[in-house]
């Protein structure tokens, strides 16, 4: 089943009067459960593409279907709900909510999804254990190291079992061991045998 289907995608920016065509005539199809990596030199439009797939940016032309939703036809609020349901984000910098503890940060999305308290706790704790942070669950972001924060972000991105987890170059900041563990964790969640999710890399 095709989970992402992009046809004839166009994206141009207008920075200081200079039009930059970041994406030209792009077609892409990703099937459910696929593990996809996107590679290219800087400035080639990787981030732009991921932003558009994530519903954070608008295309200038073309269509993007995520599941059965046509992103170009959705309102801001619908996009917000789509991101919550379908997409797990990990950003380049550590972007956790500073007033929430590690486990609360992971729980946050489950809370927004309306999942019951006990299940939230259980799933968040389990996910933090998988990224090796079972001892740090009650620390706030500023009490965690950069790598630990990033692992919380990974846990947050996949705890909700999103259809697509979208991550950008985060492994660069990881120690080699966690790199392996996070990559395998992501592969595990993406493999058809677990819950069939898609991970564009």
């Amino acid at each position: 089943m095709e989970i992402i289907k992009i046809n004839n995608l166009e994206k141009s920016y207008n920075t200081n009067g200079l039009a930059v065509r970041a994406i030209r005539n792009m077609d892409l199809t990703i099937k459910k459960g696929e593990f996809t990596a996107i590679a290219g030199p800087s400035g080639s439009g990787k981030t732009t593409l991921l932003n558009i797939i994530g519903g954070l940016d608008n295309p200038s032309g073309g269509t993007i279907m995520v599941g059965n939703d046509d992103l170009s036809k959705m309102t801001a609020r619908e996009l917000s709900d789509m991101r919550l349901r379908n997409i797990g984000f990990i950003f380049q910098a550590y972007n956790l909510i500073p007033v929430l503890t590690a486990i609360e940060n992971v729980e946050y999305i489950l809370l927004l999804q309306g999942i019951s308290r006990d299940e939230r706790r259980r799933r968040a704790a389990e996910m933090l254990r998988e990224v090796g942070l079972e001892k740090e669950i009650n620390r706030r972001p500023k009490e965690l190291s950069g790598g630990q924060q990033q692992r919380v972000a990974v846990a947050r991105a996949i705890v909700s079992r999103p259809e697509i987890s979208r991550r950008r170059t985060w492994t660069r900041r990881q120690a080699p061991t966690s790199l392996t563990s996070c990559t395998s964790l992501t592969k595990k969640t993406a493999s058809p045998s677990s819950s069939r999710r898609t991970t564009p890399w």
Binding site: L111, L112, G114
Partner: protein, 415 residues
């Protein structure tokens, strides 16, 4: 997908409020001190004004006066009336009436040797008058107030006595015109001198027994006014209505203290006006304090909002969270403000402001009140706190909407 009602916004808001403790404490101080100041100043104003009114009413004016129609404009003995049974029996029956006193009032010349001065003679029944006016308590040492059995006695205002160069025990000559047009002349003995603090009374008021005046002025059972003292100023309108129904408004004028003392009422209105301007300034200080706090905390957290929005928080939830932050600060500040304001008002209830040093300035307005106690009303507390809260929260809507309208990708890149 249906969202269950969640408690996440209040939790986030509460933690955000205490994330930057110093700033929150400063904002709390602004709201608390502002709210407390408003409550205290309102209490002082209300207390001072009520005291002024009470003092003026108690001194000599009374809450309500009944005269013959036209008397108040002319202030002449020609406008006198015969108090009939209907009025006195009604006054005895109306609840809330503390006492009432009949007076004969006439303009007269008072002379001593070469000195002559004009004065208002206010002839009263000494015993009854004591229940209506407090002038009997203002008689200076060495003299006394009128007694029930006095016949040719007079009590003078302090300035009037000075102008006539008389002391207690001296004799003054009174010259005036009677109700029937005849000449009224009498030699009277000064038994006392009063200092009321109200220049109008001190300069021009002289008290004599009503028994003497009825003869001297040939009143033929007529009087100039009935002065009514009530148990509480709030009864004024009710008792006046009652009297108007009983006696009708054709021959008599029945005036409440607001009509009897227009200068005082005007002074209080003017004073209140200045107070309103002060209120507006304070409310603005409070509101901008909150606006500043929320605005700063929103600017600091642009990346954070970007992440929240990107991972699926709805814009409405962000708005709610930011407004809740303002509500929490405003609520805490208002509650602390009520406590502090009530405490400081209570202090001024126990220790009234003493303006004796400015007594001269006050006299220009005809105000003899120099001790201003505070008066704390529920209305004051409710109105002040509700306005503080509503304004503070109202001013946080703009930064809250700003936070919700952020574009996630731009906000995440924001430094």
């Amino acid at each position: 997908m249906k969202f269950k009602p969640s408690y996440i916004e209040p939790v986030l808001a509460w933690r955000n409020v205490w994330k930057n403790k110093r700033r929150t404490v400063l904002t709390l101080l602004t709201v608390t001190v502002g709210c407390a100041m408003l409550i205290t100043f309102h209490a002082l104003n209300k207390g001072g004004h009520d005291q002024m009114i009470e003092d003026a009413i108690e001194a000599n004016t009374g809450h309500i006066q009944i005269h013959a129609r036209g008397y108040w404009d002319a202030r002449s003995i020609d406008y006198s009336f015969k108090p009939d049974e209907r009025i006195t029996s009604a006054l005895k029956k109306i609840p809330g009436v503390y006492a009432f006193s009949e007076r004969v009032i006439a303009g007269a010349l008072l002379s001593n040797k070469n000195a002559t001065a004009g004065a208002m003679i206010q002839a009263v029944d000494p015993l009854i008058e004591k229940k209506v006016s407090t002038l009997h308590g203002k008689v200076l040492k060495g003299g006394r107030y009128l007694n029930a059995d006095d016949s040719t006695s007079i009590v003078l205002g302090e300035t009037l006595a000075k102008n006539l160069d008389v002391k207690t025990g001296d004799t003054v000559t009174m010259l005036s015109q009677g109700f029937d047009g005849s000449i009224a002349a009498e030699n009277l003995q000064v038994v006392g001198i009063f200092r009321s603090g109200n220049p109008e009374y001190d300069q021009g008021l002289a008290l004599t027994p009503i028994s003497l005046a009825k003869e001297s002025f040939t009143m033929m059972d007529h009087i100039s006014s009935i002065v009514i003292r009530l148990e509480d100023s709030d009864y004024t309108d009710r008792v006046r209505e009652h009297l108007l129904k009983t006696v009708g408004k054709n021959e008599l004028e029945i005036m409440g203290w607001r009509e009897l003392m227009p200068e005082l009422v005007q002074f209080i209105d003017m004073d209140d006006m200045g107070g309103y301007i002060f209120d507006i300034i304070l409310f603005m200080v409070i509101a901008f304090g909150i606006l500043n706090n929320i605005q700063m905390s929103v600017f600091e957290r642009i990346r954070e909002f970007g992440v929240m929005l990107a991972i699926g928080t709805r814009p409405g939830q962000v708005t709610t969270m930011v407004i809740l932050e303002a509500m929490m600060i405003a609520f805490l500040g208002t509650v602390l403000g009520i406590i502090l304001g009530s405490a400081s008002s209570y202090y001024f209830i126990l220790n009234p402001l003493n303006y004796s040093e400015y007594a001269k300035e006050f006299e220009i307005w005809g105000i003899s009140t120099v001790i201003w106690p505070a008066k704390l009303t529920y209305m004051n507390i409710i109105l002040t706190s509700v306005l503080t809260f509503v304004l503070s929260v109202g001013f946080s809507v703009f930064p809250a909407r700003h936070a919700a309208k952020l574009k996630p990708i731009e906000a995440i890149r924001h430094l």
